[in-house]
Amino acid sequence: MSAIIAGRVCVKTAGREASKYCVITDVIDDYFVEITGPKALTGMKRKKCNISHIEPTADILKIKAKATDDDILKAIDTAKLTDKMKAGLKL
C-alpha cells in the first residue's frame, strides 16, 4: 500500500508553505499529486505538487479522489486533526 494515495495527510517540505500540513486529493502520475491545505485551515490553495516536495505522515483521511474542500474539512474534524493541521509543524 503506497503512502502516496488520495486522503493522505502530508507535510510540505519545500517552498513558501514549507512545514505546513496538506492533504493529497488526487494522484496525477508517478511524479505529481494534487494537494490542498485546505485554504480555510492552513492557507494553502489547491495545487499540483511534486511528490519530492511533500513528506507523508501516518494519518489518512477517508475521502473520495478530487473531494471538495468542505468534505475534506469535515473529514479532518472527524479525524480530530483540526488543531494539529492549523498550527502547522513546530520547528
Partner: protein, 87 residues
C-alpha cells in the same frame, strides 16, 4: 602612510605607475557571503554587499520566504522538516 592605512582592514595593492615607479594603493576588503549554519554551503537568495546597500532592499529581497530562510540552505531546511515531521 596615513594612520588609517596601518591596519589590515585595507588590502594593499601594488601598482606600477606610467612613470615607472611602484606605489601601494589601499582598498577595502570584499564582504563575505552568508553560509548555511549546518553544512556551510553559501546561501542562495541572500544578497551580499555593504550593510548600507542591503538595508535599502525590501524584506523579501534579503532572504527566502521559507522557515529558516537565510539561516539554513534549502537542503538542510527540508531535512529539518522531514525529521521533525516524523516525531
Amino acid at each position: 602612510m596615513e594612520p588609517r592605512f596601518r591596519s589590515r582592514s585595507f588590502k594593499r595593492i601594488e601598482t606600477s605607475l606610467p612613470g615607472g615607479n611602484n606605489v601601494l594603493h589601499y582598498r577595502r576588503k570584499g564582504v563575505a557571503k552568508a553560509h548555511c549554519s549546518t553544512c556551510g554551503v553559501p546561501l542562495s537568495g541572500v544578497p551580499t554587499g555593504k550593510k548600507g546597500d542591503i538595508a535599502k532592499l525590501s524584506k523579501t529581497e534579503k532572504r527566502p520566504e521559507r522557515p529558516y530562510g537565510g539561516v539554513l540552505c534549502s537542503r538542510c531546511a527540508k531535512e529539518n522538516i522531514k525529521v521533525k515531521s516524523r516525531l
